[in-house]
Amino acid sequence: MSGSLDSYLVLSGLLFAIGTFGFLARRNAISMLMSIELMLNAVNLTVVAFGAFVPALKTHAAVIALLVIAVAAAEATVGLALVMAIYRNRKTPLVDEYDSMSE
């Protein structure tokens, strides 16, 4: 089981779907951010799994994973800063209350 690429890819797919659900369902901006982190982790798991089973990709996977982690960190920085900024204006982190521009 742990010896097949399929099981890891399915695992990462499930993680991605859980992240998607969180992103679509949660009202809190920070919860949505956490969901995005889950999705990015799913991507990383995919990458590392490919690296672990496909000889040509062996070392590359680690590098790509590292770069993705760094990008995720940058995204989190900007995202949390934006949450801070809008919290100061609106006094709520609930995203669906940010609808002053509907239609």
């Binding site: 992103f23 999705m39 799913a42 995202g79 900024a85 521009m101």
Partner: protein, 486 residues
């Protein structure tokens, strides 16, 4: 890494240095905004010079991760022009609102650096990282007026959806990488050529394509991945909206060129139907919704969605076997950049005084209140409509002609594009009507923008007209840039 590698990516290095220089000047000389602006504009001038020096040269650096070719030079030039124009338009707007120029300029230059990297990247990982470098500063810029609820609201929506789509794009990239076994564009293309020769594609690859297409479609604001556009555009400070409407969009099409044309070119028969549907839905929906907008910024946002659709027609024409579709995309990108930035700049000029809204009523009587501004807006809007002999006409003509040449379903797409172009006249000219055929509701002072702003407006207007009268000037470059990769 060696010196020749650095030489190849010189424009990117230069623009990172410009961003650093802006911040250093701001630290060294606080409250000297002229120094900051001079540094930014001068630095970007140097970047432009470096790009021009590279024109005609070709090469690759970092083991094939980055390629210098005519496409890179052409796109780099557009991106630098976008940066310069954004700064020219931004100063007049940022200043009265007490926002810092240095941060604005530095973040903008970072974003443009990312865009320039996209233009030259021939490696999937570099492509993704460069994309993030382009969009992350974009989120910050969208929320740049951080005390303004609209600005931060637009920014957080842009950020959340943008990150969501980045994750989707990345997921797709991971699968394509896993199947082809390489991140280099030419390697991917070679692997996929084998796949394409073998007949049908594997489900895993199809899913990777789907996720990537969705991610890229989001970045270029194609329907149904466009939802972020109206809110982000309306909320952002207007000169930044001008930037967002062209910078990330041309950047997204640069990705499309490098990724779909360069790497996924062998599979173009597979993604052609998707692009056709996307193009058709995008331009139709963008136009339909634009018709019912009363806020000019929002109207221009929807119109920019429609323009995405027209540009996608060029991409579809390429996939349909018509190589001229690529130069058509590039011409469209250049023409769209100048006319759309110009249109947003006029909105920004009106909003120079804080508190002026971008509702269409603001434009009532502009033709008499401010004949120059009105005339410029009219030129930009007519060009966006596609009325000859302005740049927008040729832009549309080229993509549609390429589609017609490709034949088949693309002929139907071309006809649909023409129907859409005809319908679009309705809402663009509505603004013209307001400018020339309505009495202003309240008497607004004529806005007298600063010198820099006027220079920017002049440049966009002249280019819009010149590209219309002498499209040959641009087509020489687009034709050269349209033959890249394979």
């Amino acid at each position: 890494m060696n010196w020749s590698d650095i030489g190849t990516i010189a424009p990117v290095v230069a623009s990172v240095l410009v961003a650093a220089a802006i911040l250093i000047v701001d630290l060294a000389l606080p409250n000297r905004r002229q120094a900051v602006i001079a540094t930014a504009l001068g630095g970007l001038g140097v970047v432009a010079a470096v790009i021009l020096l590279q024109a005609g040269h070709a090469g690759s650096a970092f083991g094939g991760a980055y390629s210098l070719d005519n496409l890179t030079v052409f796109l780099d030039a557009i991106f630098v022009a976008i940066a310069v124009l954004t700064i020219l338009f931004g100063v007049d707007y940022i200043e009265p609102r007490g926002l810092p120029i240095a941060e604005f300029a530095a973040i903008l230059v970072f974003a443009v650096t990312g865009a320039m990297l996209i233009a030259g990247s021939t490696d999937l990982v570099l492509l993704f990282v460069a994309l993030e470098l382009m969009v992350l500063p974009g989120y910050v810029l969208a929320g740049f007026a951080r005390r303004d609820p609209y600005s931060t609201e637009g920014a957080i929506k842009y950020f959340l959806l943008g990150s969501f789509s980045s994750a989707i794009l990345l997921f797709g990239l991971a699968y394509v990488w896993g199947i082809t076994g390489t991140t280099r564009v030419d390697g991917v293309a070679a692997a996929l050529a084998k796949v394409a020769a073998g007949g049908s594609i594997q489900p895993g690859l199809a899913m990777g394509l789907a996720f990537m297409s969705a991610g890229v479609a989001f970045k270029m604001a194609a329907v149904p991945f466009h939802y972020w556009t109206p809110d982000a555009y309306q909320g952002s400070p207007t000169p930044i909206t001008a930037y967002l409407s062209v910078g990330p969009k041309v950047g997204a099409f640069a990705i499309a060129l490098r990724l779909f044309v360069g790497a996924l070119g062998p599979l173009r028969a597979d993604w052609l139907p998707v692009v056709i549907v996307l193009a058709a839905v995008t331009m139709t929906l963008g136009n339909l919704v634009a018709i019912s907008q009363d806020n000019v910024k929002r109207m221009l946002a929807y119109s920019s969605i429609a323009h995405t659709g027209y540009i996608l027609v060029g991409l579809a024409a390429y996939a349909g076997g018509q190589h001229s579709g690529l130069s058509a995309i590039l011409f469209y990108g250049a023409a769209y950049t100048f006319m759309n930035m110009g249109a947003f700049a006029v909105v920004a000029a009106l909003q120079r005084q804080p508190g002026v809204s971008s509702q269409i009523a603001t434009f009532a009587g502009l033709g008499r209140r401010d004949p120059w501004l009105g005339a410029l807006m009219a030129v930009f809007l007519l060009s966006l409509t596609g009325i000859p002999p302005l740049a927008g006409f040729w832009a549309k003509a080229y993509v549609i002609l390429a589609a017609v040449q490709a034949g088949g379903w693309l002929t139907a797409l071309a006809v649909l594009a023409m129907v859409n172009a005809a319908a679009a006249a309705f809402y663009y000219l509505r603004v013209v009507v307001y400018m020339y055929m309505r009495e202003p509701a309240e008497e607004l002072r004529p806005s007298s923008p600063g010198l820099l702003f006027r220079v920017g407006l002049g440049v966009t207007c002249v280019l819009t007209v010149v590209f219309g009268l002498f499209p040959a000037i641009a087509t020489a470059a687009t034709n050269a840039a349209g033959v890249f990769g394979g």
